[in-house]
Point group: C2
Chain length 245, copies 2
DNA sequence: CCAAAAGTGTTACCTATACACCCATGA
DNA sequence: TCATGGGTGTATAGGTAACACTTTTGG
C-alpha cells in the first residue's frame, strides 16, 4: 500500500476513467514482535509502521508494503517487504487476507494481499527505527492510513486464534526459553493470566519441546530450566495451507 | 482463471517481456454441494467445474472463474461468478486464499483470489448442467487445469476444519432438517461415522437450533422431528474475519 | 531464615465416548 | 410382530481448572 502512489495510473481521479483501469496489486505485512512494556516491563505486542510521505494520507502511519514485484512470489514479496522496512527476517510468515474493497484508496482501486509475520524477540530489539519507521503497541493504535486499522485488528484476531492451538508462540521467542517465558507470551497475546502449574503440564505434553541442561541465571529466585523447540513447522495443526503456493 | 485468455497481454510469450507486465488478477470459486452418491445414495460432496474452451489447458476441467470485474468487490465478484456458472446463490461464501505463484499459468502471470462456497442441497438439485459445466465428486478428481487440484484440496481441508467447530453444516441443508441429516453432512465431509446418540446431544447443546412442530414424513420408520437453524452468522466462531471488507 | 518463583501432586468437575435401552412407525 | 431408525439414559475415561504443597535459589 505504501508506495502505491508510484504505480501507473495513480493520478487518475475521474470515476468513469478509473473504473476502466485494472486494479493495482499491492503486498502489505503486519509484523508482530514482543517488546517490554514501558511501565510494567512485561512483554507486550508491538508492530512497526511506516509514515506516508505522499498523498493520499500523507503524514499518517501505515503498514509497510508496496507493489508486487514481478519476479517474486507473493510470499517472497512479503518477506522482501519486511526486510526492506525493518531489516529483519521473519521466523513466521503467512498470508492473512486479500483486501479488495472498492474504495480502500481514494485515487486508484487497489487490491492488497496482506501477510502477517512474527519476529523473534531477541532480533526485534535490533530492529532499526528512523524518522519514518517506528514501532507501536498493537493495542490502542491511532488512526492509520487506508483501512489499515481493520487489517491490524484482523491480524490480531488471527494471531490470538492460532495461539490457542498451534505451536506459534515459539516464533516470538529466541532459540532457548523458559516455560514461564512461553506463558508470558500467551498472557501478552491473549490478554489474560494463566495458571503456571497447569500451563507447564499442558506444554510438556502437547508441544514438542525438549529440556536443555542450561538454566537461566541472573534472576532473583530459583533459576528456571531452559527449553528448546523441536517441532517441525510443516506439521501445521490448524489454519495453514498444506503447501504455500 | 477461466477466461484469463481474454485478458490483455495474454498472448505475450517472451519471458523478459512477460516479467515487465503487471500480473493479471482473477477470481475463482470452489463451490461445494451435497448430492446423493450414485451407489450408496448417501449424500456426498460434489463441485461444479467448467471445461476450458481455449488454450492453455484447452479441453480440461477447471474451477469457475474470471477476471475481476471493476465495479465489484472481491466478494461480489465471486458471487457473480458463481451465479453465472451454476445459476445458484450461495448460502455461504468466504475467501479461501490468494494464489500467486510465478508459473501458475504458462502464458501471463496470474494472481488468483479464490473463494469457496456452500450451496443448499435443496437448491443444488436445480443447478443447471451443460456440455461445458458439470458436477464432479470432490474426492478423486481427475487432473485439472492450472494448479486447481491443489486449490480444491486446500478448500476441502478448510471445509473439514471449519466443520469441526462452526455451525457451517447447516449451509449445506435446506431451511428445515432432521438431526440425522446434519449428522450425514458431518459424515460425508469428515468421512467418518459418528454416534447418533452423542451427536444429537452435542448439537442440541452447542449449536443454535430450535425444534419445529413438523416431522419428516415418507420414511420407512419413525418420522424424525424437523429442526431449524437460528444462529446469527455474524457470530463467527473461528476462521472468519470479523468483517468482510 | 524469609520471600518468591520453580516445579509437583491431588482433587473436583466437565465433557467426549461407548453402549444398553425404550419408542414409534411402515411393512 | 418384526425390523429399523429415532430418541433417551447411564457408566466410564480423559482432560482441564483450581489450589495445596514442596523445592531451590538470592538476599
Amino acid at each position: 500500500m505504501q508506495g502505491m502512489d508510484r504505480m501507473p495510473f495513480a493520478s487518475v481521479a475521474n470515476v468513469s476513467e478509473r473504473m476502466a483501469l485494472p486494479p493495482a496489486l499491492a503486498i502489505s505485512t503486519v509484523i508482530f514482535a514482543l517488546r517490554p512494556s514501558e511501565k510494567s516491563g512485561r512483554p507486550t505486542l508491538w508492530l512497526p509502521l511506516v509514515k506516508r510521505i505522499r498523498e493520499p494520507f500523507k503524514g499518517m502511519w501505515a503498514l509497510p508494503g508496496g507493489p508486487l514485484t514481478q519476479a517474486d512470489s507473493l510470499l517472497d514479496a512479503a518477506a522482501r517487504n519486511l526486510a526492506d522496512t525493518t531489516g529483519l527476517a521473519p521466523s513466521y510468515l503467512e498470508q492473512l487476507y486479500a483486501f479488495g474493497g472498492l474504495h480502500r484508496s481514494p485515487s486508484q482501486r487497489v487490491v492488497s494481499i496482506v501477510y502477517w509475520a512474527l519476529v523473534q524477540s531477541t532480533e526485534a530489539e535490533l530492529a532499526r527505527e528512523s524518522e519514518n519507521v517506528q514501532w507501536f503497541r498493537a493495542d490502542g493504535l491511532a488512526e492509520l492510513a487506508f483501512d489499515h486499522n481493520e487489517i491490524v485488528e484482523y491480524a490480531l484476531w488471527r494471531l490470538r486464534n492460532k495461539m490457542e492451538y498451534g505451536s506459534i508462540a515459539y516464533h516470538l521467542l529466541g532459540e532457548k526459553f523458559t516455560l514461564a517465558q512461553v506463558r508470558e507470551v500467551y498472557e501478552a497475546v491473549l490478554n489474560r493470566s494463566m495458571d503456571p502449574a497447569n500451563f507447564r503440564r499442558q506444554l510438556k505434553q502437547a508441544a514438542r519441546i525438549e529440556p536443555t541442561d542450561e538454566f537461566l541465571q541472573g534472576g532473583k529466585h530459583r533459576p528456571p530450566r531452559l527449553y528448546r523447540y523441536t517441532g517441525n513447522d510443516d506439521a501445521a495443526p490448524s489454519g495453514t495451507p498444506p503447501s504455500r503456493p
